[in-house]
Structures are given as C-alpha cells and as structure tokens.
C-alpha cells in the first residue's frame, strides 16, 4: 500500500520477493545490499533461524532517488519460503505494491515452483489482490548450476509452467553470482512506479 507524504514529498512502496524455500530470495537481497552499500543507509534486517533459513522476513529499505519531484523509498522484503511458514508469509505480504517471484530452476523443484506460485495467488486473494494485476516479475534463478552438471529446467519449461497465463517480464538469473539480480529489481521498481506516476500526476 504505497504511502505518499505530501509534506516531505516522499513516496514509500513495498516490494516483496516470494518463492519456494531455498530458491534464492534472500540471496537476491544480499546481492543488492552488497552492490548498493553506499546508497543504503541502514543495515539489512534479517530474521532467520540458526540454520540461516528466513524465519519471518528480510528487510532492505532503498532510496531510489527522485521521480516527478518525489523522493522514492522502496522497501524490499523477502518471505520465508518453507511451506510450514505460510501464516507468517501472509503477514509479510500485507500492503505489498510489487512482487518478484523467484523460481528455482532445478528440475527437482519444478513442482514446488508451481505450488509456491499458487500459494502466492491464494495469499494475495486474502488481501483482495489479484496476481494478474499486482506488478509482478518472474526470476528463474540458479542458472549457474548448469555448469556444475545439475539438471535444470529449460527456461521455456519454466515459462510454460509459470508464465503462460500471467505473461509478465521474466529473467534468467543467478542470484549467487549477481547475474540479472539488478535488472530484475529495476524492472519491478519501474513497473511499480509506472502505476504510481499515473496517480502522482
């Protein structure tokens, strides 16, 4: 739920990275944090388990500069991906303005990607939002595993499984090496801001 502060001419918007457990959502944010260190004033907040799995969320506030005279502050969040954390995951979705779905390209995660996307649709519906209308970008992560000989789904298969109805922008990526992490983020920010601009005019 974007918030506009007319006094300080500031806009705040919330972008959530969603997807199955161990898919690379937190890694995306960690890469962004390390890449833009000088521009990000605060530390990244990560609420995780001792085993380094996201327990509640990761949070990274990011000033992206001025758009139409307004200072735009993006709040990047990740959700816990494990199935058992559905109740907590739903809480993090509250007030979301844009989403990145991080899919795991490994063959054995195919079903989990589909189930997680369905779970996203259901959780959005609880907030009366449609997955077809919320600004959304798909990321097919872990493409780097190919060179280690691990079987990956071809992007065409991922497109068919996840994007045949949504028809949103998608990026093949490797969050651990940073490949396409920033373009994914820039795309979702621009989609999210596109709607904002219409309202700010």
């Amino acid at each position: 739920m974007a918030f506009v502060n007319m006094k300080s001419k500031e806009v705040q918007a919330k972008i959530v990275y969603y997807g199955p457990g161990r898919g690379g959502k937190t890694t995306n944010l960690e890469f962004i944090y390390s890449k833009f260190r000088e521009r990000i004033k605060s530390d990244m907040v990560s609420i995780k388990t001792h085993g380094d799995r996201t327990l509640f969320f990761d949070f990274l506030p990011f000033d992206i500069g001025k758009i139409m005279g307004y200072d735009v502050k993006i709040q990047l969040y990740t959700v816990p991906g494990q199935v058992k954390y559905d109740a907590t995951r739903r809480l993090v979705l509250k007030g979301v303005d844009g989403m990145v779905f991080v899919a795991d390209s490994q063959v054995e995660q195919r079903k989990k990607n589909v189930l997680s996307l369905k779970n996203l649709q259901e959780n959005l519906a609880m907030y009366k939002k449609s997955i077809f209308k919320v600004p959304l970008v798909l990321q097919y992560n872990k493409r780097d595993l190919k060179k280690e000989g691990i079987p990956l789904l071809p992007t065409e298969t991922l497109e068919k499984d996840l994007n045949s109805q949504l028809k949103v922008p998608s990026f093949a990526a490797s969050a651990v090496s940073g490949e396409n992490v920033v373009p994914t983020m820039k795309k979702i920010i621009s989609l999210t801001m596109a709607s904002l601009q219409n309202v700010l005019k």
């Binding site: 609420i47 085993g51 509640f56 494990q82 199935v83 954390y85 907590t88």
Partner: protein, 143 residues
C-alpha cells in the same frame, strides 16, 4: 547452494529420544495442564513443535501458532537490539477469554502457554518457572 536440499529436512543441535520426549510431555501435563492451563507448546526457535499437551478441548491451529510465535519472538528480539537492549521481557498477551504466556526455556526453545481466567497470572508464572526448570534438566541429559 546444496542442490539436493530438501525443504523438510531440519538438522537440530540436540537429539531427544522417545523417553526424554515423554518425560517432557509429562512435565507439561502434570505441572501445567493439571493446573488448569488449556494448552502448552514447547517449540524451537524455528517454529517446530517439540512437545505439546492440552486439556483435550484445544482445537486451535497450533502449527501456525508455533510458526508465528517463533517469528514474532525473533522480531521482538531484533527490535530490542535496535534500541540497544540485549532482549525484552516478552511476558504475555491478555485477551478476553484466552491469554498467551511466553517463556524462553534456553537459547533454543520457547514455552508457550494458553490459559483462561481460571488460572491467575501469578500462579501461572510459578508453574511455568517450575516446568522450565524440569524441562531444562531433561535437555541437560540430552546434551
């Protein structure tokens, strides 16, 4: 990245055998349920339910409660650090009919007790303190 990693495998730092688990559950039953507590959960910081006991009439979604409670505990802990505190004392939440009390058992576990008006907070805190001591001694044996 752990390509064969299964979502469901959790590796815990402790191992409790059947006997120890039963011991813990009987502590929960004897010290707490018998004192009028509706339901009690021993959870780890990742939201897994290690042991539980209830008065037979508890139909709440305990699995979601455990996930939320552990996440919430971690969030409050993080808030404490932001304002320069080591930790906050997150004692209990009072409702109209049901109340929830939280107690850290040790670095790894939380005891969550759900109770109603029949149990005074004072009595509950006493019973919880006793139960926590007993549960801790079971863990000492397991370590």
């Amino acid at each position: 990245m752990g390509s064969n990693y299964d979502d469901n495998i959790t590796f815990m730092d402790y191992t409790l055998d059947q006997e120890q688990l039963e011991h813990i559950e009987s502590v929960l039953g004897e010290d707490l349920i018998k004192s009028g507590v509706h339901c009690v959960l021993l959870i780890d910081m990742a939201g897994n339910i290690i042991a539980k006991c209830d008065n037979g009439r508890c139909q709440h979604d305990l699995y979601s409660l455990a996930a939320l409670a552990s996440a919430n505990f971690a969030a409050v802990d993080t808030m404490a650090k932001i304002v320069g505190e080591a930790e906050f004392s997150l004692l209990f939440h009072k409702g109209e009919n049901e109340n929830i009390h939280f107690n850290k058992v040790n670095e790894e576990f939380l005891l969550i007790t759900i109770f109603g008006k029949e149990v005074s907070l004072g009595l509950l805190r006493l019973k919880v303190a006793e139960a926590v001591e007993k549960v801790n001694s079971v863990f000492m044996q397991a370590a």
